[in-house]
């Protein structure tokens, strides 16, 4: 199952975070920081999967934005990878050619959209 979904820019600012496990705010911040550190320096030629603690982070980079999903170690990685892309396509459709600024200024719309995932 999906533990959490994060949408971060290259500086590590979180643009969207959805948690499916109950966490305290401080833990969330720590996770966001760690996930960002984990994915930001990876070469584009590397795999889209990184082991993270006892789970796996499936991430994908779109320009300066990282979409990361933390899933169980036995889950089907490619399926989640493609669902990230599906989400991005939906956002793209919604904002017609999406970019980070859209997500910043219309963060509330993003929240709404992600609710429909």
């Amino acid at each position: 199952m999906i533990r959490f979904i994060l949408l971060q820019n290259r500086q590590g600012k979180t643009r969207l975070a959805k948690y499916y496990i109950p966490l305290e705010d401080s833990e969330k911040h720590k996770l966001e920081y760690e996930v960002h550190r984990l994915v930001v320096n990876r070469d584009p030629k590397f795999t889209n999967f990184v082991e993270f603690r006892t789970h796996k982070v499936i991430y994908r980079r779109y320009a300066g934005l990282f979409f990361s999903m933390c899933v169980d170690i036995t889950d089907n990685e490619l399926a989640y990878l493609e669902s990230i892309h599906l989400f991005v396509e939906i956002l793209d459709h919604f904002f017609s050619n999406v970019c980070e600024l859209d997500l910043v200024f219309n963060f509330h719309k993003v929240q709404v959209t992600s609710g429909y995932l």
Binding site: L16, Y20, F107, H108, Q111, Y116
Partner: protein, 1060 residues
């Protein structure tokens, strides 16, 4: 979406984005927060749509990473708004801001339920989404039936049913009881007939979870799943919107195949046949295409199909087809596919017998070990580890060793451990094994844990033909200029034991060997020194006749370290000196170590541990350690002599003594200091050792098993525990729980006596077994119930809060809610049984300190499954004191007794109430208190340096009301609070804290009140708080301390209830 009138929001966002630096951003955010706070305060005049705007802003601020600790009530109240825009905001922000354990959520359950059972589809969706996102226990208990109805209803639109299925899944994960197994398998079969792919996907997700828990119940879903798969792979009746890059809903395909993997095997030949046809088609029909997304999606399906083939014992032909495919994948450039190829190949090794086919790809896998991407390296390391057997061990381990020198730090430890395990399990000959481990230590000494070298020592000890070889090899390593400390340890131990076997070779006289080792002696740590000292003693005593020069040098070393500050080293030196003086008669004592019993490799165990959940593993380890150190302290006297009736079965004793003779790590000294009673560790040890050594020698010399007692290592330290674990676990069990605790103190006293020490009271750790918690340890390795979380942290939080968790373990949770008014208070314990069995022998006893009076309620003896019991205590404060009340809590889970002592958060500050004072009033009263004993002053040092505002917040949270602006000096804080107690009634306490801006670690604290006891206790209490300032969420400094209400509905809840 109604977004008009949200200009304020975009302006705010632009403002924040335009901020030059973090400070500017912070001040802009603070300004906005203050604005929102005032708006919310004047609640009456705020229209719903304005509220909506502020709640959006709050969410934005929260997303920027700031704490938003107010306004939750306003957010929640928006849910009950009649119109969509407000309701939507309420739902979305609630699901982001609050997590499932938040109290406010209970208050909206009714509203949410009305939305779910209402007629408005959009509202239904909103409510289902929120419940699905949060999914707490309360929701799952009260809403599950309604959600089920929606899912099963025929009148709802697919979009609602889809959400209902996902929502139910979330609730099911939280609380499996919501889906009753009996009826559900029929219903699921019915649901799988669904035509709408969206609903079907959601239902399939639900099914995956259901089947994972109870596969037997859902057998009848199998044919349906196969049919769905067939429909998908043939691409029949798939609407355009569910086709993803030309592939019919890849996610549904993946999920369906996942479901099938939970059934052991498929019996029905027809279904089996058609399933294999489908799988065959997927395996053969997937090609690599240019489009990344299409490629990913089709491979997602393919890998799931592979997993399914592995799971069903397919025909050999199909399996080798799979291996061939995987072999192709691990050679491709595309990193994701290669990664998955490696991963699945590893899985394949576990399931079926295809080793030989996989071995063909060994070279390719080794190439991947050098990939720049750590994810791929990890996978290939795993695969190599999995595919290793006797035939290719040499090759693979050598490859690993070679890679070790260039590998990065992230992977080295794992690499070293795996190499060690492989070489141990598949060593073609033992010499090779010793070579490998020594190389390992040489190349990556920092990453070689103690377990690894202990294991070498065991092997060498147990194999006589290896001993001379090992000694010669380590000697060669020691000759190198830079040697890792671990190498020095192994070498010291092995040469001490076996160097005499080399005596005939040139350059290997005892003296030469001594010098080689001694060369390293000055630069190693204390722990290693201890091992080397033993080696010196052995070298000397093994050499007959003794070389006078060698003897002189060795005795010289012992004399020099006889006064070492380290008790362990000191004791060794003293004892060895005695031994040397006794001369050749003593040579038996220094004979070679007896063989170790065969046992499971500690390394393998460790590997198992690390592969499991990290947190859990460390918990097990911790448990093991506690247990061992306990068992050993109690059992120790056994080695010292036979005068006392044996507590341990004789068969156990020799095992244990061998155990004790292992080279010991440094921290044992610390433990020994403990077992020497509470006397000062340094002085007595010398005395003890001087007396102990001869006394040890006189008696047990006839009994061979007691020999190792002279190797003065009676207490292995925790780091040796992994290795010792397998031995000690049986010890702890075999010692009957009944006799242990009662004899305990006597045994300990005995243990101390021979050392010539006054048998002072045993130190805390040693007397531990007397309390019920530790007693549970002796029942077996797994019975100890550990709290989930830190009791101390909970307690600290409760010092300033009035409700929260006091204690939680896997079976029980204790919550606290308290109200305080004047001299009395009411504290309710909520004891919840989280477990599916009932808890018996429940004991809840409060040991009140003298200054408090407790009226305790009757507590039921048994708590039924999943029930909660409330215990309200009425508390009266008699006088000021800093003592804490202790709650003795015990229960039986089945036959396992669990008991803890918990501090209750009933502290002085609970009986304090902030009072507003004017400057004149304060000064007047301050002057009236002239000096001790009613006014006390103290300079407090070592204060944790915190800003003034934070300190004021701390005072406020402790109900010590800060009166801002009374003191002209901005670096001072003055406070006034009333303390309520029966002896002094209401006592006005005045506090003044003068801080030094240049040195925040010290301050002057003055406390005054008409009652001397209160003054003193309050001063001490504040001092404790300042020296140990906890990290707490800053409370706004100006807010007056909350006045507690005692009636049923308290503070925020009542306000909120009014709102809705």
């Amino acid at each position: 979406m109604a977004l008009s009138g949200m200009r304020g929001l975009s302006t705010f966002i632009s403002d924040v984005r335009n901020c030059q630096n973090k400070e500017a951003e912070r001040s802009r955010v603070d300004k906005e927060l203050a604005n929102i706070r005032t708006k919310f305060k004047n609640e009456k005049g705020l229209a719903l749509h304005e509220k909506k705007k502020y709640v959006w802003k709050m969410l934005y601020i929260y997303m920027l990473g700031y704490d938003v600790d107010f306004g939750h009530m306003e957010t929640v109240s928006l849910i009950s708004a009649p119109k969509y825009p407000e309701k939507q905001v309420g739902y979305i922000v609630t699901s982001c801001l609050l997590n499932e354990n938040h109290d406010f959520l209970r208050l909206v359950i009714n509203t949410v339920r009305n939305d779910i059972i209402g007629n408005n589809e959009t509202f239904q969706c909103l409510a289902l989404t929120m419940v699905g996102n949060i999914g707490g226990r309360d929701f799952s208990e009260s809403l599950a039936p309604d959600v089920q109805k929606l899912l099963l209803s025929n009148s709802c639109r697919p979009v609602v049913r889809k959400k209902a299925a996902l929502c139910l899944l979330r609730l099911y994960r939280k609380n499996p009881d919501v889906v009753n197994v009996d009826g559900w398998s029929e219903r699921m079969v019915h649901l799988l007939d669904e035509k709408d792919i969206g609903v079907l996907t959601a239902v399939m997700s639900l099914l995956v979870s259901l089947v994972a828990n109870t596969p037997d119940a859902y057998w009848n879903c199998v044919p349906k799943c196969v049919r769905i798969l067939e429909r998908l792979t043939r691409g029949q009746e798939i609407p355009q919107e569910y086709t993803y890059y030309g592939i019919p809903s890849p996610w549904l395909q993946v999920k369906t195949m996942r479901v099938l993997q939970y059934f052991p095997t498929i019996e029905d030949p027809n279904i089996r046949k058609s399933l294999f046809e489908i799988l065959q088609r997927i395996l053969m029909g997937t090609d690599v295409v240019k489009n990344v997304n299409k490629n990913n999606a089709s491979h997602a399906v393919l890998f799931e199909a592979l997993a399914l083939v592995m799971h069903l014992d397919a025909e050999k032909e199909m399996l080798s087809q799979c291996v061939a495919l995987l072999g192709k994948f691990i050679a491709v450039r595309e990193p994701n596919i290669r990664y998955l190829g490696l991963e699945n190949m590893t899985r394949m090794l576990l399931v079926v017998d295809v080793q030989d086919t996989i071995k063909k790809h060994q070279a390719q896998i080794i190439t991947s070990l050098k990939d720049p991407d750590i994810s791929i390296r990890r996978r290939s390391l795993d695969l190599l580890y999995g595919m290793c057997d006797v035939s290719n061990a040499r090759e693979i381990v050598e490859e690993l060793l070679q890679y070790l020198t260039t590998a990065d730090f992230g992977i080295r430890e794992e690499l070293a451990l795996k190499a060690a395990i492989l070489s141990e399990s598949f060593a073609p000959d033992l010499k090779w094994y010793v070579d490998v481990i020594l190389q390992l230590i040489e190349k990556a000494g920092d990453f070689v844990s103690d377990d690894i070298w202990y294991r070498v020592v065991q092997f060498v000890t147990n194999n006589e033909d290896l001993q001379a070889y090992a000694a010669a090899t380590v000697l060669a390593y020691l000759d190198k200029p830079a040697v890792h400390e671990t190498m020095v340890k192994v070498a010291g131990y092995l040469l001490g034991e076996y160097s005499h076997l080399l005596a005939r070779q040139p350059g290997c006289t005892p003296k030469d060997i001594f010098y080689v080792i001694y060369d390293k002696f000055p630069i190693v740590t204390i722990g290693t020194k201890a091992i080397l000292l033993s080696a010196f003693a052995k070298i000397l005593l093994h050499s007959q006749p003794q070389d006078p020069e060698l003897r002189e040098r060795v005795i010289d070393v012992f004399k020099r370290y006889e006064c070492s500050v380290d008790a362990d080293v000191q004791q060794r030196c003293v004892e060895y000196l005695m031994l040397c003086e006794k001369g050749p008669d003593m040579v038996d004592i220094m004979a070679e170590m007896p063989k170790f019993p065969e046992r499971q490799s500690a390394l393998l165990k460790r590997a198992e541990n690390t592969e499991g959940d990290a947190a859990e593993a460390s918990a097990t380890k911790l448990r093991l350690q506690q247990q061992n150190s306990m068992a050993l302290v109690v059992a120790e006297p056994q080695t010292n002599g036979a005068a006392h009736p044996p507590i341990l079965k004789p068969s156990v004793a020799p095992v244990q003594t061998e155990q004790l003779a292992l080279p010991e790590p440094p921290s044992s000294a610390h433990q020994r200091a403990l077992s020497n009673g509470n006397a000062h560790p340094e002085v007595p040890v010398t005395a003890a050792a001087a007396v102990a050594a001869p006394s040890l020698l006189e008696e047990p010399i006839t009994a061979p098993a007691s020999m190792p007692a002279t190797a003065p290592a009676p207490t292995p330290a925790p780091s040796a525990v992994d290795l010792l674990g397998d031995l000690l676990a049986p010890l702890a069990i075999e010692a009957a729980p009944g006799t242990m605790p009662s004899d305990n103190n006597a045994i300990l006293d005995f243990g101390l006596d021979p050392s010539g020490l006054a048998p002072g009271p045993a130190p805390a750790q040693v007397s531990g077994p007397a309390d019920p918690l530790t007693l549970a340890l002796y029942d077996g390795p797994d019975t100890k119930v550990q709290p989930i979380g830190n009791i101390e942290d909970w307690y600290k939080a409760l010092m300033i809060k009035d409700s929260g968790i006091l204690y939680e373990d896997p079976y029980v949770q204790i919550g606290v809610k308290a109200d305080w008014r004047g001299i009395q208070g009411r504290l309710v314990l909520f004891i919840g049984n989280k477990h599916t069995g009932s808890l018996s022998n429940v004991k809840v006893v409060v040991l009140p300190p003298s200054h408090l009076r407790f009226q305790s309620p009757p507590v039921p003896d048994t708590i039924p499954p999943r029930a909660q019991v409330q215990c309200p205590f009425d508390i009266f404060c008699l006088q000021a004191s800093r003592e804490t009340a202790v709650l003795e809590f015990a229960y039986n889970n089945g036959n396992i007794p669990v008991g803890v002592n918990l501090k209750l958060p009933v502290l002085m500050n609970k009986f304090l109430q902030a009072v507003p004072v004017t400057a004149n009033d304060f000064v007047g009263r301050w002057r009236a208190l002239t000096g001790p004993p009613t006014k006390l002053q103290e300079v407090v040092r070592n204060v944790r340096p915190i800003p003034l505002a934070e300190m004021a917040a701390l005072f406020n949270s402790l109900h010590i009301g800060v009166a801002p602006g009374l003191d002209p000096n901005v670096n001072n804080i003055v406070c006034a609070s009333t303390f309520y107690s029966e002896s002094a009634q209401a006592t006005l306490c005045l506090i003044r804290v003068e801080t030094d801006p240049s040195d925040r670690t010290q301050l002057r604290l003055t406390v005054g009140s008409p009652d001397p006891t209160t003054t003193y206790e309050l001063k001490e209490y504040i001092k404790e708080q300042l020296i140990d300032v906890r990290t707490l969420t800053p409370v706004p400094p100006v807010v007056p301390a909350p006045t507690p209400a005692i009636s049923g509905l308290t503070g925020p809840a009542a306000v909120l209830a009014g709102l809705i």
